[in-house]
Symmetry: C2
């Protein structure tokens, strides 16, 4: 039994190393251009071993999608703090999201670009993950609206639309942030708070949403004039 | 000369019929499942004629992407009215966008789902169109911010992020609206105005953005409590 367990551990570790190498290669080169030779070399293993463990390029890519999707959804769920006021919840969830996508640009490229570009099987994989995130955000908005006690009539379908808009905006901003040198996760989260929480109406009038003081991590370029939370 | 012109017209007309059939087939069945036989039959022409005019399935699909992208961007540009106040500009632009995507669901599926799912060449085609739309929206937001005279400091990079967020939100809502029975273009535009103009902060507090009275086209479900424009 002990021997079996010792043998299993290295396999799991090696598999993660292969996935690390694969995510990096798929994310940077794209699915088509990525070669199994390159992935094996980067992982420090032989190509036959990659095939033995992960079966095929398709299966390896699917394993990458699933691992990166799990990591991202866990990061976002961990970032949401149900006890906070609605704007602070949104701020912490968005900060967690953009921090994760900024720290794992190859993982994000696999999920949001590569997985959707190379056929319906991978696209279906990522559509299911996205639906889960939209459902999660829908519940967050519904809970926040209920807590606010101001608009019990906000219908679930309207909230679904808002959740779709929020997720779509966050996806687009994550792509943009990773492609634009010097944009930090905090800046992206602040831009989306200004857009989605304060709204363009307040923004045009010079009323910005400003991040809470207690979690400064480097200041925000491009957010001026706000002295408090709007809304 | 006259004879040549008479011969040319039917070709242009037939080509449009082929493209109509192709957009419908690609949009409804997906790029992979769509067959050239089906497209030819739907267009009422022979398959060799489709190949003669459009060369290959790839070229036909590229022609579909370009035609639908042109139609969509023209509809959005026509909808933007630079003379109006910023919120009315945004409202009319969004209404034009969602009206177009609702009326041409197959065209939208070709652009936003199929073109991105079937390889890097088509994905690059659509990325270029998207970049053009983001640049257009960026200029609209900059112009609106300048007109408001309140925040001349709103930096261009921050505005680029806002434009990305807006375009991403609109894309996601268009997908959702076309997949959700009974959602009208006006409802989608109102949801996005509530999200992006009023902001979730105002929305939680029961302050909605309400569409102007002068262009009613059937009322809005799910938007209650607003008595005037917010912001």
């Amino acid at each position: 039994m002990g021997a079996v367990k010792t043998k299993r551990m290295p396999r799991a570790v090696r598999e993660q190393q292969m996935l690390d190498a694969a995510v990096r290669t798929f994310g940077q080169r794209g699915y088509m251009a990525a070669s199994m030779d390159e992935i094996a070399e980067l992982a420090g293993v032989s190509k036959p071993l990659v095939y033995l463990y992960l079966n095929s390029k398709e299966d390896l890519f699917t394993a990458c999608i699933r691992r990166e999707a799990k990591a991202l959804t866990e990061a976002v769920r961990a970032g949401a703090r149900p006890g906070l006021p609605a704007d602070r919840q949104l701020w912490s969830g968005l900060t967690a999201f953009f921090t994760h996508t900024a720290r794992h640009p190859d993982g994000w490229a696999v999920l949001h670009l590569q997985a959707r570009t190379h056929g319906e099987v991978f696209a279906a994989e990522i559509a299911a993950v996205r639906a889960e995130i939209v459902a999660f955000v829908t519940q967050l908005i519904l809970a926040a609206a209920r807590e606010a006690h101001r608009d019990p009539d906000l219908p679930e379908r309207e909230v679904s639309g808002l959740a779709e808009a929020l997720v779509g905006a966050a996806e687009a901003l994550a792509d943009w942030a990773n492609a634009t040198p010097g944009v930090t996760a905090r800046q992206s989260a602040a831009t989306l708070m200004n857009f989605a929480w304060a709204g363009l109406g307040d923004l045009m009038a010079g009323r910005h949403w400003t991040p809470p003081d207690d979690d400064t991590d480097g200041g925000i370029h491009g957010i001026h004039g706000g002295t408090g939370q709007v809304g």
